[in-house]
Amino acid sequence: MKTVKKILMVLCILVIIVGMFILGRNGLNYQEGYTQNILLETAKQYTVFMAISTVIILVYFAIRYNKQGVVKVIVTSVLGILGAMAFVLALFAIIKMPITRIFFPIMLATYVSSIIVLTTSFEENT
């Protein structure tokens, strides 16, 4: 099981690296009037709220799962959240999925899912 996990982890990292490379080279596939300006502008609005909620959640994680090691919990959480979002972004770049209004709902769902998975994983180890 551990080997499977490791293989999956390596695959995810590979996807992120390849995706980020493609993203840097070709950018995203904007469609239906959606532009990079709109994407960045919307991202700015989301960043504030996501940052506030992430900080609160990290504090909660650090208190509740302190027996698992505060630093380990926080590092795992930050990497988990960022990794999940980078993975989805990489997929968008690799498969050239059209970037439309659906982009942020997908990123939000990824953010929430990553937090659910992290919480479940920490709860299991409690």
């Binding site: 959640i57 209004r101 939000l108 919480t119």
Partner: protein, 460 residues
């Protein structure tokens, strides 16, 4: 006791069925004219599901012509007269926006002004796409009953000007403005609403000077018959607020304590006062947002949504398929209880949609995402409950509740933080998730708990 349990189970299932029917098909009654009227408010959908108005603001590249005579005086052109160089006139073309004004800083300032005006007027759904090189802005707002009004607000110069009543020269303008506020003055019978303009130090000083110039003066004059009479002369200013000419006046009529007070209404009627406050507020927002540093040319068009029925069908079919597979798994794993749980999960979606209708939440794409996440959470909750109930021990429902609560606590944080957003798309996600989580507890406690426990032969 067994009969009572059966009756209650049937009753709960029927109530859920009624809720599903009401949510998915609506509740209607006939009015006096025999027309069907919905008793429930419609779901408020975001602008991406309807038509939008795209206002394009392009930096004005035009020029203005100024004619000078041979002595260098500016000439007011008259119709039908040609002002040629042979006659000693010189026409100088000047760009409306000099190159020095076409900077990224000014473009961003203009964008900020648009945002302030939209936010100030409670427009929660909009997008601004600005080209940093040309300064061109594409502002997208919902095409609804307020679209014209919002377009006017965007296009307004947002300025306050006083013109000399004789020469029409600008003697004072809103470049001195510190802030604009709506204030009230309560009389014995009526209340007056004013727009109060406060100015910076330089502006206050200038206003004091003007307050001594633009006044009403009374002089004693001798008429043709040799009689002495008092003649009143007024040196007036023209008051122009946000592109609207308000009238002419002497300054002491509108200047109090070095502030300009523009009357917007006086009444004892609440509705009239509210209307006056609303109008004054709109002007205050325009003035506080500032004046555009560059001049724009505007065009607008109504754009139909990109999200057509086919796209929606594909999207919901894909999501529906994933849920169908998950529900089949529940039925296989938990048999009768799994089957009834699927029924309750559809009921959950119905109740959630009903609540979102009643609470007037705007459903955007992000809102739909929150509804889907809520459905997944409800699935997880049901799974934990059914798994725990399989163990046939007392207090399993409470244990399932606690397990679910601990696993989803961070999601409550996200939902609450996001509900504070003023932008409809972010707020919709927060509100959708917030109601989704609350309803998971209430709905399952009221409806599914009893049925699940009853099916397992216990009621604790």
């Amino acid at each position: 006791m067994k009969k009572y349990k059966k009756t209650l189970t049937v009753f709960i299932i029927l109530v859920v069925a009624i809720l599903m029917f009401a949510s998915f098909f609506g509740v209607y009654k006939k009015n006096e004219n025999g027309e069907r009227i919905s008793l429930l408010p419609n779901l408020k959908l975001g602008m991406e599901f309807g038509n939008t108005r795209v206002i394009t603001a392009t930096v004005n590249q035009g020029t203005t012509s100024t004619i000078y005579d041979s002595e260098g005086n500016v000439v007011q052109p008259e119709e039908g007269v040609e002002y040629t160089e042979e006659d000693g006139y010189e026409t100088v073309e000047q760009p409306i926006n000099p190159d020095s004004a076409k900077t990224l800083e000014n473009y961003e300032r203009a964008k900020e002004i648009v945002e302030k005006r939209l936010k100030g007027n409670n427009v929660s759904e909009y997008s601004i796409d600005m080209n940093e090189i040309t300064g061109k802005m594409k502002i997208e707002i919902p095409e609804d009953s307020r679209a014209d009004e919002i377009q006017d607000i965007i296009q307004n110069t947002g300025s306050f000007i006083l013109l000399d009543g004789e020469t029409f020269e600008v003697v004072f303008d809103s470049s001195y403005l510190k802030r604009a506020d709506v204030v009230y003055s309560q009389g014995d019978i009526e209340t007056a609403v004013f727009l109060q303009l406060e100015f910076n130090e330089e502006g206050t000083q200038k206003l004091q000077e003007l307050n001594n110039i633009y006044v009403e003066t009374t002089e004693q004059q001798t008429n043709e018959e040799g009689e002495t009479e008092e003649v009143t002369n007024s040196k007036v200013v023209w008051v122009i607020l946000n592109n609207t000419f308000l009238g002419t006046t002497v300054l002491p009529n509108i200047v109090y304590n070095n502030k300009i007070m523009l009357p917007f209404g006086m009444s004892s009627n609440n509705e009239e006062l509210q209307k006056a406050i609303e109008n004054a507020n709109k002007d205050a927002i325009l003035l506080n947002s500032g004046t555009y540093p560059i001049a724009y040319e505007y065009t607008n068009e109504v754009v139909q949504t990109n999200i057509n029925q086919r796209t929606m069908f594909i999207f919901f079919t894909a999501i529906g398929l994933v849920f169908a597979i998950s529900y089949i798994y529940l039925v296989i794993r938990f048999k009768a209880k799994g089957f009834i749980s699927v029924y309750f999960q559809i009921g959950y979606l119905a109740v959630l949609l009903l609540i979102l209708r009643l609470t007037n939440v705007i459903i955007t794409m992000e809102g739909i995402s929150a509804i889907i996440i809520s459905l997944i959470l409800e699935y997880i909750f049901t799974y934990i409950v059914l798994r725990n109930l399989q163990q046939e021990k007392d207090g399993m429902y409470k244990k399932a509740n606690l397990e679910f609560f601990l696993n989803t606590l961070p999601i409550y944080v996200i939902s609450i933080v996001f509900t504070f957003a003023t932008r409809a798309n972010i707020n919709s996600f927060g509100m959708g998730l917030f109601w989704g989580i609350i309803i998971i507890y209430i709905y399952n406690f009221i409806f599914s708990k009893f049925v699940f426990e009853n099916l397992s032969g216990r009621s604790k």
